[in-house]
C-alpha cells in the first residue's frame, strides 16, 4: 500500500471504522427510539393495570404483565436449585475428568440450541404427552430447561473465580466442605450467579418461540390463577397484535413496556457484574 502514507491510511481507517460504529449506534437508537416513540404515549397506569378487551384492541395488559413476571420466576424456581446445585457439584465435589469435560461441552451446546427446538420439545413432551396442555406449567418447565445450561455455566464460572485461598482458610478453621460451600463460596459467588439469573430472566421476557407453543396464547381477562391456566407473555401478545394487525397502537405500547423491562433487567445485571468485579479486585 505505497499509495498512501501510514498517516493517511490511518485517517481513512478511522473514518471507515467510525462510520461503522456510527451505523451500529444509529440502528440501536432508531429501533429503541422508534418503538418508544410510538409506544410510550400508549403506556399509562390504566394500560398497565387493566385487563385486555376486544382481542387486545382496548383495555390494558395487566394479566399479561403478571404472566411475563410469573413464567421466569417459576422457571427459575426449578432451574436455580438444579443449576446452582449442579455447578457446586461440578466445581467443588468432583475432579476435572473427561466426564466433566464432556458435561461442560454438552451444557455449552445446549446453551446454543435454538429456542424453537425447546418449544418443539416442550410442546410434544409437556403439552401433549404429559397432558399438561397449554399452561403456565408447560411454559415454565420448558423455560427452565432452556435457561438451565446457561445457569450451570455462569454459576460454575462464578464459583471457580472464588480464590482458593478462601477455601484453604475455611478448611484450616475446621469447616466441612459443605460448610465452606454454603458459608464462604456461595456468598462470594453470588453476584456472578445473580448476573446469570438476571440474564436468564431477560431471555425469558423476550422469548416467544418456546413460550407460544407451551404456555399458549390465551388472552384472558383474569390473571392466571392456576398452574394449568394458559396465558400470554408480553412478547407473545406483541407478536399476535402486530402480526394479525389487531392493533398496531397497542402492539407498540406492549413493545415499549417490554423493551423498558429488558433494559432494566440488563442494567441490574450489568451493575451486579460490576459489583462482582469490584469485589474481586478488593
Amino acid at each position: 500500500m505505497r499509495l498512501l502514507s501510514p498517516k493517511q491510511a490511518q485517517r481513512m481507517a478511522i473514518g471507515i471504522l467510525g462510520l461503522a460504529t456510527f451505523a451500529i449506534l444509529s440502528v440501536l437508537v432508531f429501533i429503541i427510539g422508534f418503538v418508544l416513540n410510538k409506544g410510550l404515549p400508549v403506556v399509562s397506569w390504566a394500560f398497565l393495570s387493566e385487563a385486555p378487551s376486544d382481542m387486545g384492541r382496548a383495555g390494558g395488559i395487566f394479566p399479561i404483565l403478571i404472566t411475563t413476571l410469573l413464567l421466569p420466576l417459576l422457571a427459575l424456581a426449578v432451574a436455580m436449585p438444579l443449576g446452582v446445585g449442579t455447578a457446586v457439584y461440578l466445581a467443588e465435589y468432583t475432579r476435572e475428568t473427561r466426564m466433566t469435560r464432556i458435561i461442560r461441552f454438552g451444557t455449552d451446546c445446549l446453551a446454543g440450541v435454538p429456542s424453537i427446538l425447546f418449544g418443539l420439545f416442550g410442546f410434544i413432551f409437556f403439552v401433549v404427552m404429559l397432558g399438561f396442555g397449554w399452561s403456565l406449567l408447560s411454559g415454565s418447565l420448558t423455560l427452565a430447561i432452556m435457561v438451565l445450561p446457561t445457569l450451570i455455566r455462569t454459576s460454575e464460572e462464578a464459583i471457580r473465580t472464588v480464590p482458593d485461598a478462601y477455601r484453604e482458610v475455611s478448611c484450616s478453621m475446621g469447616a466441612t466442605r459443605w460448610q465452606t460451600v454454603w458459608r464462604v463460596i456461595l456468598p462470594n459467588a453470588l453476584p456472578g450467579i445473580a448476573t446469570g439469573v438476571m440474564l436468564s430472566i431477560g431471555r425469558c421476557i423476550g422469548e416467544t418461540a418456546a413460550v407460544i407453543f407451551t404456555a399458549g396464547s390465551v388472552l384472558g381477562r383474569h390473571v392466571p390463577s392456576s398452574l394449568f391456566d394458559s396465558s400470554r407473555t408480553m412478547a407473545v401478545h406483541f407478536y399476535l397484535l402486530a402480526r394479525e394487525g389487531i392493533s398496531n397502537e397497542y402492539a407498540y405500547g406492549t413493545a415499549a413496556v417490554m423493551i423498558l423491562a429488558v433494559l432494566m433487567v440488563n442494567l441490574v445485571a450489568y451493575w451486579m457484574m460490576h459489583a462482582f468485579i469490584r469485589r474481586r479486585a478488593r
Binding site: 501510514p6 498517516k7 491510511a9 490511518q10 481507517a13 478511522i14 471504522l17 467510525g18 461503522a20 460504529t21 449506534l25 440502528v27 440501536l28 429501533i31 429503541i32 418503538v35 436449585p81 438444579l82 443449576g83 446445585g85 449442579t86 457439584y89 465435589y93 461441552f105 454438552g106 451444557t107 455449552d108 451446546c109 446454543g112 440450541v113 435454538p114 429456542s115 424453537i116 427446538l117 425447546f118 418443539l120 410442546f123 410434544i124 430447561i145 438451565l148 450451570i152 466441612t176 466442605r177 459443605w178 460448610q179 460451600v181 423476550g206 416467544t208 418461540a209 406483541f238 407478536y239 402486530a242 402480526r243 413493545a255 417490554m258 423493551i259 429488558v262 433487567v265 440488563n266 450489568y270
Partner: protein, 286 residues
C-alpha cells in the same frame, strides 16, 4: 463423627446434578429418538437433497430450507461481521476508554431487544423499502438477512471487543515503539493476536442467526422453494418447524424432529469450532 449436613451434602448434590443433566439429556435424546429413525426411513439423500416438501403426500425434502437457512445466515454475517468487528476495533483502539465503557454496554442492550420487535420493524419498515427499491414481494431472503445481521451485531461487537481488550498492552506498546501508527499496530499486531477470539464471536453469532425463528417467520415470506435471487421469499428450517409444529402428526411430526436433528448437529459443529478457536487463543497467548 461427621456432621449431618456433610453426610447428605455430597449425595444430594450428586442427585441434583444428575437430574439436571438428565433433563438436558432428555431433550437431546427425545429429539434424536424422534428424528433419526425418520431420517433413516426416508433416506438421507431424499430428506436433505429433495426439494419436494408435501407432507400430506409423504414427500419430505428439506433442501430449499437448508439453502434458505444457509443463505439467510451467510447474508446476516456478511452484514453483521464486518460492521461488528469494525465497531469493536473502533471502540477499543480509537476512542477514549470512558467512552468505550458507556458505548459497549449500550450496544449489548441491542441483544436484549426481543426478536419479535426486530421482526415487526422488518415488516413495517424494511420490507416495503426492499419492495419499492429492489422489487419482489419485500418479504424475502434479503430482508431476513438484513434483520438478522442487525440482530447479531451486539454479539460480534461485544465478543470481538473482549478479544481485542484481552491483547496484552505490551503488544501495542511494542508496535508503537517501533514507529507504527495506531492503525498499523491494529492491523499488523492486535488483530492477529485477537484473531481467534474474533473468529469465535463470528461463529457464535452464526449459531444465533441459524437458530432465529420469530423474526424470520415475520419477514422471510415462508415460501418453500430454492430462491433464484435474494429478493425471493424463503422458508428457513426454524420457520418450518414453527409453522407446522402444532398441526403435524405422525410421520409429519417426526419430520419436524428430523429438521431439529439437522439444526442440533449444525449448532454442535459450530460450537465445537468456536471452542477450538477460543482454546487456540488461550494456548497461543500463554
Amino acid at each position: 463423627m461427621k456432621r449431618i449436613d456433610e453426610i447428605i451434602a455430597r449425595p444430594l448434590l450428586a442427585a441434583i446434578a444428575f437430574s439436571a443433566l438428565a433433563s438436558l439429556l432428555l431433550i437431546a435424546v427425545f429429539i434424536l429418538k424422534e428424528g433419526l429413525p425418520f431420517m433413516a426411513r426416508i433416506g438421507f439423500r431424499d430428506f436433505l437433497g429433495s426439494s419436494d416438501w408435501q407432507p400430506q403426500e409423504g414427500h419430505f425434502g428439506i433442501f430449499p430450507m437448508i439453502v434458505a437457512s444457509l443463505g439467510v445466515t451467510l447474508g446476516a454475517m456478511a452484514i453483521g461481521a464486518p460492521l461488528g468487528i469494525a465497531g469493536a476495533i473502533f471502540l477499543c483502539e480509537f476512542v477514549p476508554r470512558p467512552v468505550m465503557r458507556t458505548v459497549k454496554p449500550a450496544i449489548e442492550l441491542l441483544a436484549g431487544i426481543p426478536s419479535v420487535v426486530f421482526g415487526f420493524l422488518g415488516v413495517m419498515v424494511l420490507a416495503p423499502l426492499v419492495r419499492t427499491h429492489f422489487g419482489g414481494p419485500g418479504l424475502s431472503l434479503l430482508t431476513a438477512a438484513i434483520i438478522l445481521g442487525i440482530m447479531v451485531l451486539p454479539t460480534v461487537t461485544s465478543i470481538s471487543a473482549d478479544a481485542i481488550m484481552a491483547v496484552p498492552g505490551a503488544f501495542r506498546e511494542g508496535a508503537l515503539a517501533l514507529g507504527a501508527t495506531r492503525w498499523q499496530s491494529v492491523y499488523m499486531v492486535i488483530l492477529k493476536a485477537a484473531r481467534s477470539g474474533i473468529i469465535a464471536s463470528v461463529i457464535l453469532a452464526m449459531g444465533r442467526a441459524i437458530g432465529e425463528t420469530m423474526a424470520v417467520i415475520m419477514v422471510a415470506g415462508n415460501t418453500v422453494r430454492v430462491p433464484h435471487s435474494a429478493l425471493d421469499p424463503v422458508c428457513t428450517l426454524t420457520a418450518k418447524i414453527a409453522m407446522e409444529m402444532a398441526s403435524a402428526s405422525g410421520l409429519h411430526r417426526q419430520s419436524l424432529f428430523a429438521i431439529g436433528v439437522v439444526l442440533f448437529v449444525v449448532i454442535m459443529i459450530l460450537n465445537a469450532l468456536a471452542m477450538t478457536a477460543i482454546r487456540s487463543r488461550k494456548g497461543a497467548s500463554s
